[in-house]
Amino acid sequence: MTGAETLLPLLAMLGFASLVAGGALFVGRFLGPRNLEGVKIQPYECGVTVSGNARDKVSVKYYLIAILFLLFDLEVAFLLPLAIAWDEMIALGWITMGLTGFFLFYFVLSLWFEYRSGALEWEKS
């Protein structure tokens, strides 16, 4: 299995999907009516007069979730190479289990800490 045999079909699939998307945009641009004016091109707010800009401050909770995701996904990314080489690693014996246990201990500890500190609560009661 050469690199080209993996990459070319993947690019072809990407090309197919882009063709579908581009075709839809192209067809939609020319077949439908195009009469964009007045109140139609205002942001939709249930028929009430538009007030203010949508790009305002948003709740800090969303950022918190994103930061938590980064932390945990990084740890998952660290675990993945270990999992792929798992069969060779456990042939080494207890040392693998010790090191993995050390890592997972910190993983669980951090999860527990975040649970207790209320970082995982969406609504603090």
């Binding site: 079909p9 072809a12 990407l14 197919f16 998307a21 009516p33 790009r55 938590l68």
Partner: protein, 359 residues
């Protein structure tokens, strides 16, 4: 025919199959929801209303495409394109049927034969969140932005649980190659039956997470109609909306195909190994290469049946369960699924060590 040519030939075949699958599940969903709610459902267009999705598509093509004055123009047009790319490209990783032979040479029915296909598939599908976020931001509409923010944090919340499930699965399968994973689940191989029985907890966590990743009920908060009009695609109309719609349903197909591949034995027919299937077809009077072709087609039917099982459950759940509240949704992801996945991972590692390790 070389393997490369065959893969390139499969590209439009698989792509068109996915795109035609969307109207099918759409019809199943509309008639199925009607059936579950004791209504009739659309039954006017064509026999039993079967042409309704076609009528919808034609209507959608001839609709005006709205573009709000305050929207970011490039990103507004780019977001629907980004919504359709990941689910279709992801299908290139899925092994669809068992390999067949031409003049003794074996051909796998999988577009990209990579050792990292499982990882790559998850990487591709996680790009879907960008389409949603960009659409919400570019629309410059309050409903869109709220929907996009909700969708973004919902998708990444469940991504972590899926990642840990992936690690557990790799420990027990020993490979990231999806076609090897399917072979392992075949009769006569190491597992001899569906992976579901090896990792039932991972199956459950993955299934729940898949509902959240696809923004399906009971987790459809990004577009909860009663609160957010239509969520991140409020400002989209015509074929741009159509692309979001297509992308969403194609993502459901991809998720179902992944679940079927990893947990329900992919294209394997239960208790029948690929070789047994070929000899069964030979018993019907076909020989050599032709027998492998028919066996391959039969295994593809088995795979399609498993995918449609998951698709039907998507529809079934939608009309059975009410929507979650947002804090319940985030709580479920971080406080239930993530610890469960961690415990399962630790358990899997200890079990595997006791079974195979040197101690």
């Amino acid at each position: 025919m070389t393997p490369l040519l065959w893969s390139l030939f499969l590209v439009p075949l698989v792509g068109v199959a996915v795109l035609t699958g969307v109207p099918v599940i759409l019809m199943v969903e509309r008639r199925g929801s009607a059936w579950l709610q004791r209504r009739t459902g659309p039954n006017r267009v064509g026999p039993f209303g079967l042409l309704q999705p076609m009528a919808d598509a034609i209507k959608m093509v001839f609709k005006e495409e709205n573009q709000p004055a305050r929207a970011s123009k490039f990103l507004f047009i780019f977001a629907p394109v980004l919504a359709i790319l990941p689910p279709i490209v992801g299908f290139s990783m899925i092994p669809i049927a068992q390999p067949f032979t031409i003049n003794g040479e074996s051909f796998a029915v999988q577009i990209v034969k990579s050792d990292l296909s499982f990882l790559f598939l998850l990487a591709i599908t996680s790009l879907h969140v960008f389409a949603v976020l960009i659409a919400g931001w570019a629309s410059n509409n309050k409903f869109s932005l709220m929907g996009a923010l909700r969708a973004g944090s919902q998708m990444i919340s469940y991504e972590v649980a899926i990642g840990l499930c992936l690690v557990s699965l790799v420990v027990s399968y020993g490979t990231l190659n999806l076609s090897e994973i399917v072979t392992l689940q075949g009769a006569g191989s190491r597992l001899a039956f569906w992976g579901f029985f090896m990792q039932p907890l991972v199956f459950l966590i993955m299934w729940v997470s898949v509902f959240a990743e696809c923004n399906r009920l009971p987790f459809d908060l990004p577009e909860g109609e009663t609160e957010l009009v239509a969520g991140y695609h409020t400002e989209y109309s015509g074929l741009k909306f159509g692309l979001f719609f297509l992308g969403e349903y194609a993502a459901m197909y991809l998720a179902s195909a992944l679940m079927a591949t990893v947990f329900l034995g992919g294209y394997n027919i239960p208790f029948v190994s690929p070789d047994q299937l070929v000899s069964f077809v030979e018993g019907l009077g076909l020989y050599g290469d032709q027998a492998t072709w028919v066996a391959s087609a039969l295994s593809a039917v088995s795979f399609a049946a498993k995918v449609f099982f998951f698709m039907f459950v998507f529809v079934w759940v939608r009309w059975t369960l009410p929507r979650f509240r947002y804090d319940q949704l985030v709580g479920l992801g971080w406080k239930v699924l993530l610890p469960l996945a961690t415990i399962n991972l630790i358990g899997t590692m200890i079990f595997s060590f006791l079974q195979k390790g040197a101690y």
